[in-house]
């Protein structure tokens, strides 16, 4: 390969990753700043974390966020996996065009539109705004992301395995749990994680659909940010980043271990 090109490649990767990571790194560093002024370094301190853990409003918001995230990610994974199955296994049914449009449109739909329309639905059916409405809203937009992730795994799936199971007398439900699910499980798990982080991060849709007593962490952070940048928010952001980073790293290690195991099993099978 031409050396000038590869030098160009390395430069663009280094600059690109610096651009992606520098702001986050700076944010984390300044969360340990002694000074109240965010941009002046005055020495290392963890006092903002202490004051954060004594801030009841933040703690309450964190609990709301985690509850909404766990419930909505679980339902979104079930619905999204069903949606992905419907899209890949049944290529002909009435209204398939509409179905596929409803799966893909929420991925790009501006959040203000989704939020407003869901709120107006909840008002129209007389549902009081609160944790339930936020959860329903989160399920709706994150199930589409799950559907796309699971679908990309399903299209490369060898269907003859399913057919063999069915020929041997397994019902479609047994076939799904014994044959299909174990194979697509990594995609389902990453779909769940994606849904969970989407729910954890969402500000706009939550703001529209939530009511009194259902303030999520991003809503709390947003209302603080509007008042100005403080090290306390940096600390809250750092904790959120740490949770996500640990989750992603654990997931990728688990994935790698599974691959290593599979390779070993295949080798063992080949030897026998």
């Amino acid at each position: 390969m031409n050396t000038t090109w590869s030098r160009f490649n390395i430069a663009s990767l280094v600059l690109g990753f610096a651009f992606l990571y520098l702001p986050i790194v700076l944010l984390v560093i300044y969360s340990f700043n002694e000074s109240r002024l965010v941009t002046v370094w005055a020495g290392f301190s963890t006092k903002w974390y202490t004051s954060l853990f004594n801030n009841q409003a933040f703690i309450d918001a964190a609990w709301v966020t985690i509850r909404v995230g766990l419930i909505s990610a679980t339902f979104a994974t079930i619905l999204g996996t069903l949606g992905a199955l419907a899209m890949t296994r049944y290529t002909r049914f009435r209204g398939r065009m509409l179905f596929s449009a409803m799966i893909y449109a929420p991925l790009v739909m501006p959040e203000v539109i989704t939020g407003l329309s869901l709120l107006l639905l909840f008002v129209a059916i007389g549902l009081d705004r609160g944790i339930l409405t936020v959860t329903l809203a989160h399920i709706t937009f994150s199930m589409c992301f799950v559907a796309v992730v699971v679908q990309s795994r399903l299209v490369t799936f060898d269907r003859s395995l399913e057919e063999a199971a069915m020929d041997l007398g397994a019902t479609p439900v047994t076939t799904f749990f014994k044959v299909t699910l174990p194979v697509i499980l990594p995609a389902v798990v990453s779909g769940w994680m994606l849904a969970f982080t989407l729910s954890l991060d969402d500000l706009v849709i939550s703001s529209f659909t939530s009511g009194p007593g259902a303030t999520t962490l991003p809503m709390r952070i947003y209302s603080q940010v509007r008042l100005g940048v403080t090290p306390e928010i940096n600390a809250a952001c750092t904790i959120l980043i740490a949770i996500v980073a640990v989750g992603v790293i654990i997931a990728s290690i688990a994935n790698k271990r599974r691959e290593v195991n599979r390779a070993r099993d295949e080798q063992a099978a080949a030897r026998n």
């Binding site: 031409n2 160009f8 490649n9 663009s12 990767l13 690109g16 651009f19 992606l20 990571y21 702001p23 986050i24 700076l26 944010l27 300044y30 941009t39 619905l79 069903l82 199955l85 419907a86 179905f99 596929s100 449009a101 409803m102 893909y104 929420p106 991925l107 790009v108 739909m109 501006p110 203000v112 539109i113 407003l116 329309s117 869901l118 639905l121 809203a137 399920i139 709706t140 679908q151 990309s152 299209v155 490369t156 019902t171 479609p172 439900v173 994606l194 982080t197 991060d201 500000l203 706009v204 529209f208 991003p218 952070i221 940010v225 940048v229 952001c237 980043i241 996500v244 980073a245 992603v248």
Partner: protein, 303 residues
């Protein structure tokens, strides 16, 4: 018997997510449209007429006869709104272009990297996407402020004497959009480039093409599906973006997502914000359909 079970299962698999999306995605749009034809009122809910199906057909028709296009006339007559639409579209187009210029070399560098480090690079691009959008936008406030880190650095390096005013300008919005949406553009381009047969480029170079020509004639056209999908993934949500113009833009920045938000939360005018949403959706319906088509096509070709 088995056939019956299979057909019942297939109906359930299709109808559960289908019904969910109908109720929570499609019907809400119809309600938005209906309310955009109403008038604002000091009541709960804050608009009139309220269509009450339980009150009988006659009262429904009576309410429908009170619907009016006044909110749309208002949107056309007040220059604030159409200026906001136009400036949202311009900001979204410019920032999509900037994201492409910055994102393409990254995707290209990843695709040409040794196969052993590619999964790591891929994870490094995805990781910021898992980090909260709000946090990533917030991080830029501290950097771009007049007394922020960028200005401190530039003044320390003697590049400038007086602080640059970047925060609360359109430049800050461009930076925010490029930064937040970069992974959305890098990933589809990377997956298009990774599948590409590089021997085509080598053949072209053997036949006398300069590397730049070979890139322009072969690599770029072959990555086009990824470029198109990526551009839609940036352009459509960026047009209705609220958080970035609100936190990084100034008071003079007009973006329609911000207008909708303030109509709803500050003015409590639900009918006008619904009309704003309907027009925004009409502007975006063509790109959304094109995006959905290209995704469905990509999905088909993988089978």
């Amino acid at each position: 018997m088995q056939k019956l079970i299979a057909s019942v299962t297939s109906r359930l698999v299709i109808s559960i997510p289908y019904l969910w999306l109908l109720v929570f995605f499609l019907i809400p749009f119809i309600i938005v449209f209906k309310i955009s034809l109403s008038e604002v009122a000091m009541a709960i809910p804050p608009y009139t007429p309220v269509v009450d199906i339980t009150a009988g057909i006659k009262s429904v028709f009576n309410s429908i006869s009170q619907f009016s296009w006044d909110n749309y006339v208002w949107l056309v007559e007040d220059p604030l709104y159409y200026k906001a639409y136009i400036s949202s579209l311009v900001i979204a187009i410019v920032s999509t272009f900037l994201t492409l210029i910055i994102g393409y070399p990254i995707a290209y560098g990843m695709a040409r990297a040794p196969a052993t480090i590619r999964p790591t690079l891929l994870m490094l691009v995805i990781l910021p996407f898992w980090t909260s959008f709000l946090i990533r936008v917030y991080a830029w406030i501290g950097i771009l402020k007049p007394e922020g880190l960028l200005n401190q650095f530039l003044m320390w390096a003697n590049v400038i004497d007086t602080p640059l005013n970047i925060l609360n300008t359109n430049t800050a919005i461009f930076i925010g959009i490029v930064y937040s949406y970069l992974p959305f553009l890098v990933l589809p381009i990377y997956s298009a480039l990774e599948k590409m047969d590089y021997s085509l480029v080598e053949a072209a170079e053997d036949l006398g093409c300069t590397p730049l020509m070979a890139f322009w004639k072969i690599t770029f056209p072959l990555s086009m599906p990824g470029v198109i999908a990526g551009c839609f993934l940036v352009f459509i949500p960026a047009t209705g973006e609220f958080v970035i113009p609100d936190l990084l833009g100034g008071s003079s920045t007009l973006m329609i997502g911000k207008t909708l938000w303030s109509e709803f939360f500050s003015n409590r005018d639900w009918p006008v914000s619904s009309a704003v949403a309907v027009i925004l959706l009409l502007l975006l319906v063509v790109p959304i359909v094109l995006f959905q088509r290209s995704e469905a096509k990509a999905q088909e070709s993988e089978k």
